[in-house]
């Protein structure tokens, strides 16, 4: 297991704050090529853009896998997904986020066909949504998004909104949010990976190019202890709170506290502070430290309650 590339504490804090980690062009070329060969060519269904790709999927080499399968047993050794998951960066990042025992939830080959024929229906982007269903847990699943070939802006790419992962919403109930300040579109080289907290709001872009776009997603969950699983040995929480609001110099960069209290551009002026509080709660969960705080946001509430002041 020494080959695992575990996340640093600051990278974990970034994931907690923004709900994603992105690694560009980290999957070797031969795995990308093998994956594209195993995925095969996906033709446009007879029903047009809205049609199912099930027939094409039946012919490709990506297996059906039962939900709940231990990740180690999900893919045949030597296949592209197995080789991808064995990469030290991938295995280390997944272990950091989910702990050593990981279970397969589902995977899907996302295919966005080019806009060749307008008579087959409008070529639309996917509405903004949060995957699965309302999920009230503090624990989280990880969605590994794998881009096996180069994605240009006109190919659409995955659109996602950093920092939305801690909002409890009901899947496509957020479809009305067409555009959000700070949204990102995945434009990348082949072999790029996105590790998403399951709650991040996202959607597929419309493919306006003349090439089919593929993205392979694997959803994974912790089967055992999820916490303190990254390279945490050097981490020490601060022994005192720093000054807040009235400051004579900028806050120190690259500290957990600064990362957890950095806003996203779409934050509302009141709920942005609640976002900080929910990030701090998630950091408490991951570090197993019920007293951790950044900039006094939870201490202000906790200490009053502890003193019996309600």
């Amino acid at each position: 297991m020494s080959a695992l590339r575990l996340l640093s504490t600051i990278d974990m804090a970034r994931f907690v704050a923004r709900g994603f980690l992105r690694f560009d062009a980290v999957v070797p070329h031969e795995i990308n090529e093998q994956f594209m060969a195993e995925a095969g060519e996906t033709a446009e269904p007879d029903e047009g853009f809205k049609g199912s790709h099930r027939d094409a999927f039946a012919a490709n080499a990506i297996p059906e896998v039962q939900a709940g399968t231990p990740l180690a047993n999900a893919y045949e050794p030597g296949t592209a997904p197995a080789r991808l998951l064995a990469l030290p960066l991938v295995a280390g990042t997944l272990q950091s986020l989910l702990g050593p025992e990981i279970v397969f939830d589902h995977h899907f080959l996302h295919v966005r066909l080019p806009s060749r024929d307008p008579s087959r229906g409008p070529n639309l982007s996917q509405h903004t949504h949060q995957d699965s269903t309302i999920d009230p847990r503090q624990a989280f699943d990880v969605q590994l998004m794998y881009y096996p070939h180069r994605i240009t802006r006109d190919m659409g790419g995955t659109r996602f909104i950093p920092g939305t992962h801690l909002r409890k919403v009901s899947e496509f109930a957020i479809g009305r949010y067409q555009n959000v300040v700070g949204q990102q579109h995945v434009v990348c080289e082949a072999g790029t990976l996105l590790f998403l907290h399951h709650g991040v709001w996202h959607g597929a872009g419309a493919n306006q190019s003349d090439r089919t776009r593929y993205m392979f997603k694997i959803r994974l969950r912790a089967a055992g202890r999820q916490t303190r699983a990254w390279a945490i040995e050097d981490y020490r929480p601060p022994d005192k709170q720093r000054a807040i609001f009235f400051l004579k110099s900028p806050p120190e960069e690259n500290t957990v506290e600064t990362v957890l209290t950095t806003p996203e551009p779409w934050f509302e002026q009141d709920t942005g502070r609640l976002e900080y509080i929910n990030r701090i709660k998630l950091w408490r969960y991951l570090t197993e430290d019920p007293e951790y705080d950044a900039d006094y946001w939870l201490t202000r509430l906790d200490e009053n309650a502890a003193a019996g002041n309600r």
Binding site: S125, R159, K168, Y177, N179, V180, E268, Q269, D270
Partner: protein
């Protein structure tokens, strides 16, 4: 007329005195703005556009910059506000929970249908 950040599709019907120009096939355009707080002059943090005239098909992810900086800017451009979200009290025990964007404003303008 002030320059519209959305181009021709955002131009108002021409006015003659206090009377609006007659439209033979009037259609509704709807603009939804999500603001940073409950004030109409607060900054836009998210938005959506639906064009019933058929001139343009808007969709998720089609723009990265908001059409207006604030809700008030949309009013100044001729959009008519017809609905605003209420400011709701917080449910006891769920005060720190977050879900949907809070400050939603619906605007409309009536345009000629594009055949």
């Amino acid at each position: 007329m002030a320059r519209s950040p959305l181009g021709k599709s955002m131009k108002l019907p021409k006015l003659k005195g206090n009377r609006k120009a007659r439209l033979t096939n009037p259609r509704q355009k709807v603009l939804v703005l999500y603001l940073a707080n409950s004030a109409l002059d607060a900054p836009v943090v998210a938005w959506a556009l639906y064009d019933g005239s058929g001139e343009r098909l808007h969709m998720a992810g089609d723009e990265d910059s908001p059409p207006y900086k604030t809700g008030l800017d949309a009013l100044r451009e001729g959009w008519r506000l017809f609905q605003a979200s209420q400011i709701q009290p917080h449910v006891r025990g769920e005060e720190l929970d977050l879900s949907y964007l809070k400050y939603e404003f619906f605007f409309e303008r009536i345009c000629e249908a594009v055949v």
